[in-house]
C-alpha cells in the first residue's frame, strides 16, 4: 500500500470518527427503542436487541398523550413561523428601503433581545398572560415565541434585502411600479432563499423551545413536545422504552426539515459570521 492510500484511509477514518461523535447518542436511543422493555433492564447490555420490536412505539401511542403533544408542537411551530415571517419580511422591507428617523437604532435594538436571558423575558410574559386567562394556551405560546423570533428574523431579512442593489427597484420605479409592487414582484422573489432559511430557523426554534412552553402551559392538553418529554422524564423515570421511542419520533421532524431546508439554512446562518 502506498503512502497516499494510507492517508486517504486515515482521512475517512477521521471523518467517520467525527460522524460517530455526532450520531452515537441518537443511535443508542434508536437501538434502545427497538428493545422490548424486558431487554432494556439487563445486567449485561446488549448492543443490538435480541428481538427487535416496535412494542415501545405502540405502547407510547396507546398509553400516553404523545400524539396530542406532537400536534400542539406542530401547531405552535407553524403558527410562529407564519406570524414571524409576515412581520419580519415586511419590517425588513421598510428598514431597508423606506428608512425613517430612528430606524437604525430600532434595528440595532432588535439584537438586544438575543442577549437577554430568556428567563428575564419569561417572567413578565408570564405575568401578562396570567391576566389574559381567556386566551388559548397555544395562541399564547405562538405570541411568546414570536416575540423572540421576529427581532432575529427582521435583523437577518434586512441584511438579505440590503444586499439587493437599489438600481433594481429604481428601474422598477421608473417603469411606474408602486413601493408595494416593488416589494411583491421584484424584491420578494429575489429573497426567497433567505426567507426559506429564516423560516427553517424559526420553525426549529419554536419546535425545540422549552422555557416559555414550561411557564405558559399548565394543562396536559396544552403541552408541547419538549414539555411532554420533560413530564415523561418525571413520570416514567423507569420507562426508558417509552422515553426513547418518544425521543426518536421527536427527532424525525428535525431531520425532515434538514433534508428540505438545509442548504438555505446553512447559507443564512453563516452569512453573518463570515462577514464578521
Amino acid at each position: 500500500m502506498n503512502k497516499t492510500k494510507i492517508t486517504s484511509r486515515l482521512k475517512y477514518l477521521v471523518i467517520f470518527g467525527w460522524l460517530f461523535f455526532i450520531i452515537a447518542p441518537y443511535l443508542w436511543m434508536f437501538i434502545t427503542s427497538l428493545k422490548p422493555p424486558a431487554e432494556i433492564y439487563t445486567k449485561t447490555i446488549n448492543y443490538w436487541p435480541n428481538n427487535p420490536s416496535i412494542e415501545s412505539y405502540l405502547s407510547l401511542l396507546k398509553t400516553t398523550p404523545f400524539i396530542r403533544y406532537f400536534l400542539n408542537s406542530l401547531l405552535v411551530a407553524v403558527g410562529t413561523t407564519v406570524i414571524a415571517l409576515i412581520a419580519s419580511v415586511t419590517a425588513a422591507f421598510v428598514f431597508s428601503r423606506l428608512p425613517f428617523r430612528g430606524s437604525r437604532g430600532l434595528l440595532s435594538g432588535m439584537l438586544v433581545s438575543q442577549m437577554v436571558p430568556a428567563i428575564l423575558l419569561a417572567i413578565p410574559l408570564f405575568l401578562i398572560f396570567n391576566k389574559l386567562s381567556f386566551v388559548n394556551s397555544i395562541v399564547k405560546l405562538i405570541l411568546a415565541h414570536s416575540t423572540y423570533a421576529i427581532p432575529f428574523a427582521t435583523w437577518t431579512m434586512t441584511g438579505f434585502i440590503n444586499e439587493i442593489p437599489r438600481s433594481i427597484d429604481e428601474a422598477a420605479a421608473i417603469d411606474g411600479a408602486s413601493p408595494l409592487q416593488i416589494f411583491w414582484h421584484v424584491l420578494l422573489p429575489l429573497i426567497i432563499p433567505g426567507v426559506v432559511g429564516v423560516a427553517t430557523y424559526i420553525f426549529i426554534f419554536s419546535w425545540k423551545e422549552f422555557l416559555y412552553a414550561l411557564t405558559l402551559t399548565s394543562r396536559t392538553v396544552d403541552r408541547t413536545l419538549p414539555i411532554g418529554l420533560h413530564t415523561f422524564m418525571g413520570e416514567y423515570t423507569i420507562r426508558w422504552d417509552l422515553l426513547t421511542s418518544a425521543g426518536v419520533i421527536t427527532v424525525i421532524p428535525v431531520i425532515l426539515i434538514f433534508v428540505l431546508g438545509q442548504k438555505y439554512l446553512i447559507a443564512g446562518l453563516t452569512a453573518g459570521s463570515t462577514k464578521g
Partner: protein, 251 residues
C-alpha cells in the same frame, strides 16, 4: 398567584448579595461557561478542519453536523441521561469493559460528577454548530493563499498556523462571543438533567433564577438574578468591543 405590585427599591438585590447561594451559583456559572465554550471551540475547530477536507458526501456530513443544534434540549438531556444512567447506562458499561472503572458510577446523581456530566452533554450539543460556523469561514479562504503556500513548500502544520488560523480568528472571536452569551443564559439542559442538584452542585444562575421565580414564587428575586447576569454579560460584550477596536479595523 404572585401579586407583584409593590415597589420595594433595591431590596431584592440586597437580599441576593447577602445570600451565599447566589455566589455559589455565580461561581458554577463561570465554570460552566468557560469549560463549555473552550472545549466546544477546540473540538469545533477540529471538526471544521476535518470537514474542510475533500471527500465524497461532504454536504451530507455538514448537514448532519447541524442536527444536534436543532434537537430540542429536552431530547439532548434525555439521551445523555440514558447514556450516563447509573444502572443501565452504556457509558458505564464501556468504561467498565475498558477497565477504567470498577463499579458503575451514578454520574448525574452524585455531587462531584453532576456538573462535569452536564458540561459533557453541552459540549456534545454545541460542538458541531461551532464546527459548521468555522467551516464556512475556512471555505472562504482564497485559493491563491494555498497555492502561494505550496510554492513556498509549506507543510500542513504551517498552512494551519500561518494561513487558516489568522483567517479564522474573526469568526472564532465572534462565534465564541455569541456562544458565551448563549451558554450563560442556557438553563434547559441543567434544569432537566439535574435540576441544579444534587444539593446545589450543578446550580448555575439561570436555573437559580428560574427556581426562585417559579418554584418559590419570588418573581422579584428571580428577575434580580437575571438582571445581574445581563450586567455581567454586558461587561463581557464591552470588553470584546474594546478588543476589536484595539486590533484596528482589520476585521
Amino acid at each position: 398567584m404572585p401579586n407583584a405590585s409593590e415597589f420595594i427599591g433595591l431590596k431584592n438585590y440586597i437580599e441576593l448579595f447577602l445570600n451565599k447561594d447566589f455566589y455559589t451559583a455565580l461561581y458554577r456559572s463561570i465554570v460552566w461557561v468557560i469549560s463549555c465554550v473552550s472545549f466546544q471551540l477546540i473540538a469545533g475547530l477540529i471538526g471544521a478542519l476535518i470537514m474542510d477536507q475533500n471527500f465524497k458526501g461532504r454536504g451530507l456530513v455538514r448537514g448532519i453536523s447541524l442536527v444536534p443544534w436543532a434537537t430540542p434540549s429536552v431530547l439532548v438531556a434525555l439521551m445523555w441521561a440514558w447514556l450516563l444512567d447509573g444502572n443501565y447506562g452504556v457509558i458505564n458499561d464501556l468504561l467498565q469493559k475498558l477497565g477504567l472503572i470498577r463499579h458503575y458510577i451514578p454520574w448525574l446523581a452524585q455531587g462531584s460528577t453532576a456538573l462535569p456530566s452536564v458540561i459533557l452533554a453541552n459540549i456534545w450539543q454545541g460542538t458541531p454548530f461551532f464546527a459548521v460556523m468555522l467551516l464556512a469561514s475556512l471555505q472562504s479562504i482564497p485559493e491563491e493563499l494555498y497555492e502561494a503556500a505550496k510554492i513556498d513548500s509549506a507543510n500542513s502544520w504551517q498552512i494551519f498556523w500561518y494561513i487558516k488560523l489568522p483567517f479564522l480568528l474573526p469568526t472564532i472571536l465572534i462565534t465564541s462571543m455569541l456562544r458565551i452569551m448563549w451558554t450563560a443564559n442556557y438553563m434547559d439542559l441543567i434544569y432537566i438533567m439535574t435540576g441544579g442538584g444534587p444539593g446545589s452542585s450543578s446550580m448555575i444562575l439561570p436555573v437559580y433564577s428560574y427556581i426562585k421565580a417559579y418554584k418559590k414564587l419570588e418573581m422579584g428575586q428571580g428577575a434580580a438574578v437575571a438582571i445581574i447576569q445581563v450586567v455581567l454579560l454586558l461587561i463581557v460584550v464591552l470588553w470584546y468591543l474594546r478588543l476589536l477596536k484595539k486590533r484596528g479595523r482589520d476585521f
